[in-house]
Symmetry: C4
């Protein structure tokens, strides 16, 4: 599982990377139940980024799939996206959410919102690098 200590390190690493990119971002870490374990909204981050980061993490946790893959799938099939978007509570199919695997087991997820898709991805990667 993702301990509180690990979750805090993930948040810290993500914030550091966001700072290096000159961004103010929201970062969310959820556990294997999809529930929030740690969260930070950096000073200056838009209010909307909080919801987005949390939903990206939740989406990755309950599906075991990157939200970047969801985004590609959904933009390629609007009808399917509409079905899933209105039928699955709490999801957001924007890039920036990645599942966390520990010893190959889906153990939670991290979600980031604050920059462009490639910037959010870099911040996510910084968080994932804290997983042993």
């Amino acid at each position: 599982v993702i301990t509180h200590t690990v979750a805090a390190k993930m948040i810290e690493a993500a914030q550091k990377k966001a700072g290096e990119l000159g961004l103010a971002a929201s970062v969310a870490v959820v556990d294997d139940g999809g529930n929030l374990k740690a969260f930070a909204r950096m000073d200056g981050a838009l209010l909307g980024s909080a919801n987005a980061a949390r939903r990206k993490a939740y989406t990755a946790a309950v599906s075991g799939m990157s939200t970047a893959k969801w985004f590609d799938m959904v933009t390629g099939n609007t009808a399917l996206g509409m079905i899933l978007g209105t039928g699955m509570e709490g999801v957001l199919f924007l890039p920036g959410g990645e599942p966390v695997l520990i010893d190959g087991v889906l153990s939670g997820a991290v979600g980031v919102s604050g920059g462009q898709a490639d910037q959010d991805a870099q911040i996510v990667d910084a968080a994932l690098a804290q997983i042993g």
Copy 2:
């Protein structure tokens, strides 16, 4: 009506079929009021499958129509799907939900999420076979 005993048999049969297919699925049975009567999320099933199975069963129960038919209708008419998806609470238009008819009367529904559409359909069929 779908008794607790019958609902439990439906869940058991569905889980057995899922196991044979090498899948971990969620299975939901709702009564003629659309309310959950029995439910199981197998070990290893994604968190998102729970919501999906419950919504598929609910959709079939309140409409009296297979969610596979809803899926075909909605993907063929995105505007209609958008209207219905945002205007009907609790629905999900993905295949895997079937109404339960007892003596020709709509008595509830079963919903499954865990595999591809044809796999979910086989699991649904295993559950429906428990209806006398």
Copy 3:
């Protein structure tokens, strides 16, 4: 305003017309605040018809516009329909909801769900005929 007595007559007239058409329908009457004033779900009507009738009436009441007109507008502009469908709580853009005008003033609405669009419209008309 729509009194309880008038609302009850509207429901009764609508049910009578539905019966003549061989349909089991849900009928909802809302007041000038968009709140439910009277409602009936006929025996045999699908569960989903209750939500649909209530939402159609609500949509007509808060917009002052027929849901048949909303349906035409939304199906002709899916992006607009998506914006409105996800951004306006409680609405449903399917035909079968009509505002009630008393002395030219928007005073509430009636919504019907149970048959095809033209059948629902006939049932709505029967209800509206009760307005002096």
Copy 4:
């Protein structure tokens, strides 16, 4: 921040402009937390305008972006609009919501619903003119 006094002046100016245009509108002012600070629904304004005005203001506040820009973006990319519309609570991507900047800092927003897009924009401008 937007003080209560300033918010009240914004509402008053907006109502005055709406009256000049012969419209009955709803006007909402939200603070830097996206929460309602002041609101008015003019006599005769449709019920639906209240929700719309509040959501437009909220959308501008949490994104720091005009809802007119959101509208253009979303109508040009329905898939993205669907993702955002279903995944971001409380938003509405219709023109008529503008962020309020005080000394260059995002400090809240104003939202208007009552007329055509260009009319709502004039009413929004009247409210924004109250910001020093």
